[in-house]
């Protein structure tokens, strides 16, 4: 019972720090996935009076990923079919060329403006339609969400560290006594602080395991999978290897730094 209480305060603090960090990572991943989605679905339509090669398009702006020429057949089909074949061929030649330009990533406002300007500078290109207003608002919302999560993560981090520092004074008191007594019998500092570091490392391991449990179950919960399906993004909520070891590393560092603070603050009483 006593030993559980010893561990609880640091474990709870570490778990909340790790939780906040992982939530931040998930949101970041979701936003990147959404951005990629947007970029994949987003394209700029270019109207030109003569054909322009793929390579030429790519030299116009570095943002250009791929270009497909839109066939005029659809347009012509919609026209009255009574036009005879020879005239249709003629029409085909005189109709302007339509191109669908895909971009490497979802552009921001400035990038769209720059791209449009650069494309229009080309003497063949007469019109550029960039549909910028459709996606912009969703994307802005997402970025706002990311800012909120960043602030949330930083605040959790700061508040928890403050709580731990307060807890530290209690710790300092309990551990100081044992460390002093051991010192009076000639124990070197590494020996008298060994218990403290063991406690810190054990707590880091416990909190990593707790976080592993929480996020593994979140990642495999049907509700979360369904939500992902609904939004249309597929992200890795919790990478059992990469994420786990990163969080574990953070937990170990935080707890070892705290333990070191106690050791540095230790003074032999007279």
């Amino acid at each position: 019972m006593k030993s559980i209480k010893n561990h609880l305060s640091l474990v709870v603090a570490l778990v909340s720090i790790l939780f906040a960090i992982q939530v931040f990572i998930i949101v970041d991943r979701a936003i990147n996935a959404y951005k990629e989605n947007l970029a994949n679905n987003y394209s700029v339509i270019v109207v030109a009076h003569s054909s322009i090669t793929d390579a030429k398009f790519k030299t116009l702006d570095t943002l250009v990923k791929s270009v497909t020429e839109l066939s005029p057949d659809n347009v012509i089909k919609r026209l009255n079919t009574k036009i005879d074949k020879r005239n249709i061929e003629l029409l085909k030649v005189t109709l302007p060329k339509f191109y669908k330009v895909k971009l490497k990533h979802f552009p921001n406002k400035h990038e769209i403006r720059r791209l449009t300007k650069k494309l229009l500078n080309h003497r063949y290109i007469s019109k550029v339609e960039n549909f910028s207003y459709n996606h912009d608002s969703t994307f802005k919302l997402l970025l706002l969400f990311k800012d909120v999560i960043t602030v949330f993560t930083i605040s959790v981090f700061i508040v928890t560290i403050l709580l731990i520092l307060k807890e530290l004074r209690i710790w300092q008191f309990t551990h100081n006594e044992r460390m002093s007594i051991m010192g009076l019998f000639g124990a070197p500092i590494w020996l008298s602080s060994a218990v403290l570091f063991r406690l810190a490392i054990v707590d880091a391991i416990i909190s990593s395991i707790v976080i592993f449990g929480i996020f593994s179950s979140i990642a495999s919960s049907p509700w979360v999978l369904e939500q992902q399906e609904n939004i249309g993004i597929h992200i890795n909520i919790f990478d059992a290897f990469g994420d786990f070891f990163m969080l574990f590393g953070i937990a170990i560092s935080v707890s070892v730094v705290l333990a070191s603070l106690i050791v540095i603050g230790h003074k032999e009483e007279v």
Partner: protein, 223 residues
Amino acid sequence: MDKVIVAENLSLAYTDNETIINKINFSVNSGSFVFITGASGSGKSTLLKSLYGALKPQEGSLIVGGVEIKGVTKSKLNFLRRHVGIVFQDYKLIKEWTIEKNIMLPLIINGYEKTVTQNQVDSLLKHVRLKHQSGKYPLELSGGEQQRVAMARALSHNPILILADEPTGNLDDYSAGLIWNLLEGANTQLKTTVIVVTHNIPQTMTIDYKHFHIEYGSIHEVN
């Protein structure tokens, strides 16, 4: 005769404006048994603190076990302390450790083997009549029992010097007798130098001893 302790013009103080021990000269021969008496607040515990290096001399020099306490390095002080056994006036037992582990502390620090440690601790627990309490924690023991644990801990690693601050202060005559026997035994059998702070020197002493008295910041031998 080898000297374990040599103090010359030694002054001790906690603050600059109040000197507790004032320019004393005294020495203790290796293997001797010494009593230190004095009124409450006269500076007996203060003097012991300087002997294990917790309080550095304000003035003068103090050599313990060949180590100059003034300006001693941390590692040299640790080395000295590993060969000293201390019974503190307030016991200083580790609350979160069992009685048994508390007694083992000096043995753990000195890196003794597990079997040696266990045998030594068992024998000491028997001597201080606490065998049945070995798994308990200090706060589950009476004051006198805690004091006996502190005594056992001070003896466990066969130190060359024992510093005991009122080791029988809380004990009845019978338990006090056990403690004196242990200290006399260490002194006669292991040639351990023993320094005991006490208010009353036992009438039952079977060996030669020295008696110093502290008064008004100075120390003198009583014959």
